[in-house]
Amino acid sequence: MNINATLLGQAITFAILIWVTMKFIWPPITVALEERAKKIADGLAAAERAKSDLANAETKSQEALKEAKAKAAEIISMSEKRRNEIIEEAKNEARLEADRVLAQAKAEVAQEINKAKEVLRAQVADLAMAGAEKILRREINPSAHAELLTSIRAEL
């Protein structure tokens, strides 16, 4: 074991190596590791946030689904009601139309009857006149009995 000046040389080397580590090795690795730790922490936080976001979205979608179902049911019931109304309306309209058509037909029939009655009346009068004429050709002077004939015609 011989101690000599090598010791001094080694101490200098050692000091330089410590300086190198302090200056060029320790700080950058520390920075990188701290940054990575922060990144990981951020990532975990983001994952947590995403999880709660997902849960929120799920409840929201559930709610929306429920709402949509309720709305659909409402729409269906409304449409059913409306359909009934429309059917009812149509029925009423049809009934009114039928009544109207019926009334018109009745009126037309009555008119026709009247018309026919008029015609018949005229024809009966003419027939009666013709018959009476034939019977009374010689005895009745149309000009002398015109007043009487007119009154008969009016009565018929």
Partner: protein, 256 residues
Amino acid sequence: MSESAGLTSSEYIHHHLTNLQVGQGFWTFNLDTLITSALLGFLILGLFAFVARKATSGVPGKLQSAIEIIFEMVQGQVKDVFHGDPGMVAPLALTIFVWVFILNAVDLLPVDLVPHVLGMAGVGHWRAVPTADPNLTFAMSLTVFILIYAYTFKAKGVGGFLKEALTAPFGAKMAPFNLIFRLIEDLAKPISLALRLFGNMYAGEMVFILIALLPPYLQWLLGAPWAIFHILIITLQAFIFMILTIIYLSMANESH
């Protein structure tokens, strides 16, 4: 022991334990220790610095991950042991662990490999394992010792240090004994640090040299288990040097 076929066993061992030196007396430099330790130190820490410069906070590559594992091990130890602002303690601990580990790991190379290759280039002696040279281990432990005192004075001031040295642990009446105890305690720190690492690595190297003296067909029988066991030792010694440094600095930073 091919290159030393003409040597006796003791000559072979002696050859392996002689440093390549220049200079006279105290001003002798062990070139093998200086060159190997500096080369490997700058190589491994250069690799660390290279990776650290490109370090991404995104998905790390394999190399970056490996370095991060070592980094986080050291950081965790410092956090557990050292209370207060770690300052330079953490980089110091990383330097010690990485450097001591890579220097210890040279022990796993075949004992004749480096001396033989350099011998062919005309280099007479070459001790490959720098941590088996007490000059290196004492250089590190004395540097740590100086830092211990720097931290002590920074945390407590000179007055606080003197008060602590004179009154702990037996009270003011036993001041001389307290001082002697403190002296022993403080001196024991760098000496034990240096000698523990040196002793382990020197012994490990010696065992490899002795195994190399066996007949070639028997060497694997002892060499393989010892090398595998030695992987544990080199890691453990690097870890112990690091953790004790952290503990000593932490003690210096806190009052008793």
